[in-house]
């Protein structure tokens, strides 16, 4: 009995520590070694956990497991640097006749909280680099900044392990070629570099929020990891900018509906049908707090506008004021950055302020014939105005939709209309 309970505890503890500590060890070591040796940093971190699994199984869990991991990682890193240094000093000089470099490997594996945080933030800037594709940035972020397993990343992207492994390998290769340094960008670059980081964090969040993956726990974790990375940016005075606060605010508002938007059969529940008691009041108030923090400086970013839109959505009541505000925010958002979904949402807001007939005219100008949500919107707008047209639009939407959740919602809408 006792042994069984012990095994359970160890079995849960190591994955938990892997999730929280692996990324810290990798970032610190990689910063120390240089980005070109990222694989060695990852190997040492993985190796540290393998050693932990073996040793703790035999000797029991140490008093302070995290300190134990850091100690072992530090020793492994020192050994690695020593081997490298021997190679450089004893073997390379034989060939190149260079003078020996000083032994700098002794006490500089700095796993202090300050260096852990700095290393992780700098790593974030290194990974969120336009030199590699957005998918690769998200994949590497999940692996290196969030400590996700390859299998989990593959599940999140609805693909297989080989694809993810290849993608990550190529991305690291590319960053190596680009001679990416793990450091804070200088102040003249910070805005631009930060915008790439924020975009990746937001995509990571959206990946979780809108993913077609059925694994609810995993999806939620993706969202909370995105929020954690954003929080790290806020905790550092160098990166605590208004748009970072706006982004975390926006994610808090969205995440507040996480428990309300899916039922026990894993089906999506539309906003209007959600039980507002399941909306997370704590996250809503956090969102409000960060939106307040974001309201400084001259720059009105798209995150400010999206956060403000998300704020209005935390109020269920359909007031004229609410939709008029949402419409104007979408008007502004579209001027800063066009996206098809913003265009469709803007038109929905217009139907709430100016009526369906006017919205239909505006919607049909959008001409997104191969967009499922365009046809859903038109189906919605034509419902009660011209049900034949509504049905035909919902049918097209159903044909274009890929996720089971969307298909089920559209089928229900069609059934309801066909009864009329």
């Amino acid at each position: 009995m006792f042994a069984g309970a012990f095994v359970m505890e160890r079995q849960e503890l190591i994955p938990h520590l892997f999730r929280t500590e692996y990324r810290k060890i990798v970032s610190v070591l990689c910063k120390r070694f240089g980005f070109d040796q990222i694989e060695n940093a990852e190997d040492i971190a993985s190796d540290t956990f393998a050693t932990a699994a073996q040793t703790w199984g035999m000797n029991g869990i140490p008093k302070n497991p995290t300190a134990w991991l850091y100690h072992v990682a530090r020793n492994k890193a020192k050994n690695y640097l020593k081997r490298n240094s021997i190679f450089k000093n004893k073997i390379t000089p034989e060939i190149s006749l260079q003078s020996s470099a000083p032994d700098v490997y002794e006490n500089d594996i700095d796993l202090s909280p300050q260096n852990i945080n700095d290393s992780q933030l700098q790593m974030m800037f290194a990974i969120c680099n336009p030199a590699i594709s957005v998918e690769a940035q998200i994949g590497l972020s999940l692996r290196i900044l969030c400590g996700f397993g390859i299998e989990e990343i593959a599940d999140g992207f609805l693909t297989n392990k080989e694809t993810i492994n290849k993608r990550l390998f190529r991305a690291k290769e590319k960053l190596r070629e680009e001679k990416i340094k793990i450091e804070f960008p200088n102040s003249s670059e910070i805005e631009e570099r930060l915008s790439t980081v924020l975009r990746t964090i937001y995509l990571l969040f959206s990946e979780g929020y809108y993913s077609a993956s059925h694994d609810q726990v995993l999806r939620k974790e993706l969202c909370f990891e995105a929020m954690r990375l954003c929080t790290m940016l806020i905790e550092n005075k160098y990166t605590n900018k208004p748009e970072v606060n706006a982004l975390i605010s926006l994610m808090c508002f969205h995440a507040s509906r996480f428990d309300a938007r899916v039922n026990e059969h894993d089906e999506l529940i539309l906003y209007n049908e959600q039980d507002t008691n399941l909306w997370n009041a704590d996250l809503i108030s956090k969102g409000g707090y960060f939106l307040h923090c974001a309201a400084t400086g001259k720059n009105l970013s798209k995150y400010h506008l999206e956060a403000a839109i998300a704020y209005w959505h935390t109020k269920r009541e359909d007031t004229k004021d609410k939709w008029e505000n949402i419409l104007q925010l979408y008007n502004q958002l579209l001027q800063i950055e066009y996206s098809p979904i913003a265009a469709l949402n803007r038109t929905y807001a217009l139907s709430k302020t100016s009526g369906k007939t006017k919205a239909i005219i505006e919607a049909e100008k959008l001409k997104m014939d191969d967009n499922q949500f365009y046809h859903s919107l038109l189906g919605e707008l034509y419902s009660g105005i011209d049900n034949v047209k509504a049905i035909s639009h919902f049918q097209v939407a159903l044909r274009l939709s890929r996720s089971a959740a969307d298909k089920s919602i559209l089928s229900k809408k069609l059934q309801a209309l066909e009864k009329k």
Binding site: N331, Q332, L334, Y338, A343, R346, E362, K367
Partner: protein
Amino acid sequence: MEEYALIMRHEDGKKIASPEQMEIWMKQTMDWIGGIAAQNKFVGGTGLPFDGARVVTTKNAKSVVTNGPFGEIKETIGGFITVKADSVEEAVEFAKGCPVLQGEGNSVEVRKISQSNGTH
């Protein structure tokens, strides 16, 4: 895809609107621009308020700067936006929705923007 400037002209710039009227126009203008932006055809634009406005003319070969008078000019420019359009006809369709046109005598001038880089 070409770019066109839609230049809004008011017949009489001296008329002063009430804040409530201004707010309605503002909303209508934003909705008009939002509708164009929703089609991914909005490029940029700006309003041109009268504060900080000057007119520079030449008199006896010298520059003369005045705070107006805009009244002497029959029409004043209230602002402009730049849009993308496949044809001048499409740009004209955008212009037709401009709330400035609710005022009798006001106009929206549609002008193609010449491309400096030679790509059209």
